[in-house]
Assembly symmetry: C2
Homo-oligomer: 385 residues x 2
């Protein structure tokens, strides 16, 4: 159950109904629902469900939501290491109506520490009298309660896991995480990158009330206001140049805008490649050189077209040349900034995606205004414009 449905559920039904619903849930979902209730109502629900279940849920509530402990459920099938295959099958029988997707039975020692895991197909094929530990995988992949959910998700992807046992600091088996919970984690992580690039708080949702939406977006917009002011101050430097030729004010947004979009293209492929581990500091140099080269070629193409169009529409040929040169320069800047910024952020342990759209647009606005108006000033000084 995702956050949205959880919230809709909570707000739409009474405490009594909630007790019935929570009772039917797996412990991890129950903990998620209860963690969002007001304290009083949470207590009421915990008192309402059966005692053992309540204790299991309360144990889960202590773990941060984005760790293995926060994602795990208490429901699992486990036997002590001295059990036989027959006794293990009995455990599956007992648990099969309350647990979905039992794919492994876990084996624990007499202190409750994880000692192994037996996949169901092995269990089916073994002789009933065999001690279960002899057919168990003695060193199964496991995670600790404090492992970050993103790392857990990577383990699932790497080893194609269906479920994984969760242990505490002393090796005690305390829960399991199933692949369906991990699918949601993976989605969340990618959407987070997406959001950070747009300058959005990761909690923001389309259906948020207006007040919440405003509070969440204002900080980024204020940051953007500062970078926009910086870009404007570059234009301010060249007020005299614009005064001599107002056409420059007409054309300068083209140079800045094309740089912004080229940089967005670069940064998007780079952030994705960093997220998937395709791009490392080792191969970064070749990507960087390539992006600057791509900027150069695309700048020649689009800048050539733009310059030609300006000339054909009646502008001075030197204005066309100016547009051509400035677009080449700014699209090279776009390739450089778009590939270097996420790498630098990562190097200093920041998230490479943080509000790239704001910083990148700022860089290409500044770059665009500076090269275009700067070159214009130079041309004027040289007497060719």
């Amino acid at each position: 159950m995702d956050e949205r449905r959880r919230k809709a559920l909570i707000s739409s039904i009474s405490s009594e109904e909630l007790i019935d619903v929570v009772h039917e849930m797996e412990t991890d979902d129950a903990a998620d629902v209860i963690s969002e209730l007001p304290v009083e109502e949470a207590k009421q629900v915990l008192d309402g469900i059966d005692r053992q279940e309540s204790i299991a849920v309360q144990k889960l509530l202590v773990f941060p939501e984005d760790t293995a402990g926060g994602k795990m459920q208490a429901e699992l099938a486990s036997v002590i290491e001295t059990a036989t295959v027959q006794e293990t099958i009995e455990e599956v029988r007992k648990k099969s109506h309350e647990i979905d997707n039992i794919s492994n039975v876990f084996v624990v020692d007499k202190e409750g520490r994880l000692a192994g895991a037996v996949p169901l197909d092995k269990l089916i094929l073994a002789d009933p009298e065999t001690p279960v530990i002899t057919i168990a995988n003695r060193d199964p992949i496991k995670v600790r309660t404090d492992m970050d959910q993103e790392e857990v998700a990577k383990l699932f992807q790497k080893y194609d896991l269906i479920s994984v046992p969760v242990i505490d600091h002393n090796g005690h088996l305390v829960g399991r995480i199933t692949v369906d919970d991990i699918v949601d984690v993976l989605e969340e992580e990618i959407f987070e990158d997406f959001y950070k690039m747009a300058g959005l708080n990761i909690e923001a949702r389309a259906l948020d009330p207006a007040g919440r939406a405003i509070r969440m977006r204002v900080p980024w917009l204020l940051l953007n206001l500062c970078t926009a002011a910086l870009a404007a101050s570059v234009v301010k430097l060249f007020e005299g140049t614009i005064e001599q030729l107002v056409l420059l004010a007409v054309l300068m947004p083209i140079v800045a805008g094309m740089g912004g979009n080229a940089a967005t293209q670069t940064i998007t492929v780079v952030v994705r490649a960093l997220a998937l581990g395709e791009l490392t500091f080792k191969n970064a140099r070749s990507v960087l050189i390539k992006e600057v080269l791509v900027g150069f070629v695309n700048g020649c193409l689009t800048g050539g077209l733009a310059g030609l169009a300006a000339y054909l529409l009646g502008a001075n040929i030197m204005v066309g040349l100016l547009l051509f040169l400035a677009m080449i320069a700014n699209m090279m800047i776009a390739g450089l900034i778009g590939s270097i910024m996420p790498l630098v952020l990562k190097r200093f342990k920041f998230d490479p995606a943080i509000s790239s759209s704001i910083f990148v647009t700022a860089s290409t606005d500044i770059g665009g205004f500076f090269t275009f108006l700067g070159l214009a000033t130079l041309f004027m000084k040289m007497g060719i414009l």
Copy 2:
């Protein structure tokens, strides 16, 4: 195995080694690898692996990569509906070393049509002499070979599936899809939205050679050039106004830029909500109204700050007022366009994410220049500027 590792593998080893490697793979991965080989080498590898495997792989090669048929593997455990539980367990024994994660045994009729599915835990608990069909789920969730991979992924998420049987048009069981393949599909789909928003071909990668990167990005940049020219032509309309007050050219990028970032925030939450099904045409109206309201409030805040700063830095107070009003208007435009554009695209069966960054920046550039310079012209005509 993802595309990148597949390509690295293919380019790094000889055909003979490739035969060995492909032989060890599941049929779906083998088909993916072979589909990327040059025709001659593909034939060589198909001839090299064992005949039965070669036939199974060739059958998979006919399905488009983004359909259920393209994602499925031929490896599965199945029995005829007249089989007993004991015979079904025998099938698991035969298949268990060649198939990972057997979670269900499928039951077929004598024509090979899917008749049911038995999860392993039910199999363990049943009497060996029972006919397997009596403990099978007679109407399991199944997909047809031509179902789009995104729909398949949604089924997995909705029902927390581990694997799903794939049938052809006549109901014959032809393969199965496991959850690990679906995790990759989900990632791909989200990254696709991400890419479309940035104006990137979905095949583009950071490690592409420069020539390929240029070819893939140029179409979007040319489109961006057209929208940028449109925005410039709006500025052109007001050349006379700028001539009278060059400061307008200095400040106009602030109005446009702030609108662009506000619109990016809106469009990102809206595209996400559409992707997750949180936003529908039913609740669209309230989101739209909210976004315009958010634009108004954020416009007041940031526009007020910007206008005040301009005034304090020495600009005419009417220029400050102008900045304030134009930013409110443009951020309301941003909220409107940012929420309406993805909805309209979806209504007409386009992807809501298609190159939003280009269209949205165009709208807010045009909106920003028009309101700011238009108001300035009006103020001048009224004699207050």
